[in-house]
């Protein structure tokens, strides 16, 4: 029932994110059909997209509306939820989980749409690769998503989005300008090392991102548990 509730809470944000993605898609469509082609696009647009999708959806996943979010303006129904015999781990876990699923869904759909709209891409990349690419995106983005979850337990709605973008931006900048171990370079994982270009799955990056994500998630949980209402 918690999943159903989380779905009810987040479905409009999901719609909004999808709409936003479509917008981006239309802009990218032009770029995809002309040189410099897929390589350039992947390098620049996708990471940004992923970050934005994550921050928006994590916002949907952990909204200032009910449960375990910011204390200022905590919705009254939070008290009702917290009075239920459910652990905060489960509450946060479900909210984060549904946000992640929605995010993965959006990314997947984006990839599909991109595939169908871009003949250039179809020529270079196989469907299997595209699928693997979608999985890579979802995996690599885990850390970014969890960052958003963590920030949601600390900050207000809009700050969370900015915070995630700034955080990822800093990470991206550092990872491109300073020698960085390959497995930790999330953006490379989504870019050059991704199935679209390297034709292999960057499992080490995915694992790293997932691991980092888990750490961030449990930090968020610790904060949520300590919070008062």
């Amino acid at each position: 029932m918690l999943w159903h509730k989380a779905w009810l809470e987040t479905r409009f944000r999901l719609l909004f994110t999808l709409f936003f993605m479509c917008l981006i898609l239309t802009f990218q469509h032009g770029a995809a059909t002309t040189p410099p082609g897929v390589h350039g696009i992947v390098r620049f647009s996708n990471p940004i997209l992923v970050v934005m999708a994550c921050s928006m959806l994590a916002g949907a996943g952990i909204a200032t509306q009910p449960t375990l979010a910011v204390s200022k303006g905590t919705h009254g129904s939070t008290l009702f939820t917290l009075s239920l015999p459910v652990s905060r781990l489960r509450l946060l876990g479900v909210r984060a989980g549904i946000g992640w699923l929605e995010g993965a869904g959006v990314l997947g759909m984006y990839c599909c749409a991109f595939w169908f709209l871009s003949p250039t891409l179809r020529g270079i990349v196989t469907p299997a690769d595209m699928f693997r690419y979608a999985v890579t995106l979802a995996g690599c983005a885990s850390a970014i998503y969890c960052l958003s979850v963590l920030l949601a337990t600390l900050l207000d709605d809009q700050w969370r989005v900015w915070g995630t973008m700034i955080g990822s931006g800093v990470y991206w900048w550092v990872s491109t300008h300073i020698p960085f171990p390959a497995f930790a370079n999330i953006f490379r994982g989504m870019g050059e090392d991704s199935p679209l270009i390297a034709h292999t799955m960057p499992w080490n990056v995915i694992a790293f991102s997932a691991g980092l994500g888990i750490i961030l998630f449990f930090t968020a949980l610790k904060i949520a548990k300590a919070r008062e209402y």
């Binding site: 029932m1 159903h4 509730k5 009810l8 809470e9 509306q65 009910p66 919705h75 009254g76 129904s77 008290l79 009702f80 917290l82 009075s83 239920l84 015999p85 459910v86 652990s87 905060r88 781990l89 548990k225 008062e228 209402y229």
Partner: protein, 297 residues
């Protein structure tokens, strides 16, 4: 030794700007209907939130069902046995009445379908209506339905009749009394309606400025508290020290009104020992007891 379903000892809680609880001692006997009274800002909601694990106390202890309320996670099992109505009566704005009931039910293995049906009918709750479209009174009733139908052993209700019209209040009080009589459920509720507390409570506790100023069995209190009216034949000097039990003395000309919290007989003796006095005893209402103890000290 009575078992207490709720017990706090010297509970203290401060917020950044102000202290809310300053050493609260609360003892709620099992199977009682306990009226928790106090002015706005006295600490009623803070106490209730602390018992539900929503706030963490600074010092002192709090126990529910004999188990310490330490943090929210360890109290999961405790919450399975408690029905709770919040002060704000806020519920999920994106659900209908039916969806909310279906959402809440699976958390409680002892859910009573018969009570759910009964209250849906009694409170006339429209299943398909969205919660934001319900009046405050209907939301109060819905929260009560959710709290009672879960088959809880303890009900913690923060102003349960807030926003209800007199007929609805009557219905709610009757249901509370029925549930207490049939299941032995303990009911701990805060209220500003002294009349309703006087009607159904067997124990009361009055909190003022974060401390319990008077608590105990309501019947005992009504027996022990007495108002003594002393009429003097002539204007007379009142004693500077009264025997134990005098809460307040008010004098208007030849008439003196004494509120006694206990030891009334001895006080009557002392009053009668004064020249030219005639003493009459009157019973005391809960309102008088309340006002006496919460007037700014």
């Amino acid at each position: 030794m009575t078992d207490f379903v709720i017990e706090t000892n010297q509970l203290c809680k401060s917020f950044a700007s102000r202290p809310a609880l300053r050493g609260l001692d609360l003892h709620v006997p099992v199977g009682s209907i306990y009226g928790f009274l106090g002015r706005n800002g006295a600490g009623k909601t803070t106490t209730i939130k602390t018992l539900m694990g929503l706030l963490r106390s600074n010092s002192g202890t709090a126990q529910v069902f004999g188990k310490p309320v330490v943090d929210a996670d360890r109290s999961v099992e405790i919450r399975r046995r408690i029905g709770f109505v919040t002060e704000d009566k806020e519920l999920y704005p994106y659900m209908t009445v039916e969806q909310l009931i279906r959402f809440t039910r699976p958390f409680f293995p002892k859910w009573r379908d018969d009570l759910e049906r009964r209250y849906l009918q009694l409170f006339e709750l429209p299943l398909q209506r969205k919660i934001p479209d319900l009046s405050k009174g209907m939301r109060s009733k819905l929260m009560l339905l959710l709290a009672i139908s879960r088959g809880a052993e303890l009900l913690i209700l923060d102003e349960p009749t807030d926003g209800l019209d007199p007929a609805a209040i009557e219905d709610v009080l009757r249901e509370l009394v029925t549930i207490a009589a049939s299941s032995g459920t303990t009911i701990f509720f805060s209220s500003h309606q002294l009349a309703e507390v006087e009607l159904i409570a067997d124990h009361i506790g009055i909190i003022d400025q974060g401390r319990m100023v008077v608590a105990g069995s309501l019947d005992d209190m009504k027996t022990r508290y007495q108002r003594l009216q002393v009429v003097f034949a002539n204007s007379v000097q009142l004693p500077s020290h009264w025997v134990e039990g005098v809460e307040s003395v008010r004098q208007e000309g030849r008439v003196v009104s004494i509120l006694a919290s206990h030891n009334a007989d001895a006080i009557v003796d002392q009053a009668q020992s004064l020249p030219g006095s005639e003493v009459e005893r009157f019973p005391v209402t809960l309102k008088e007891i309340f006002l006496e103890h919460v007037r700014s000290n």
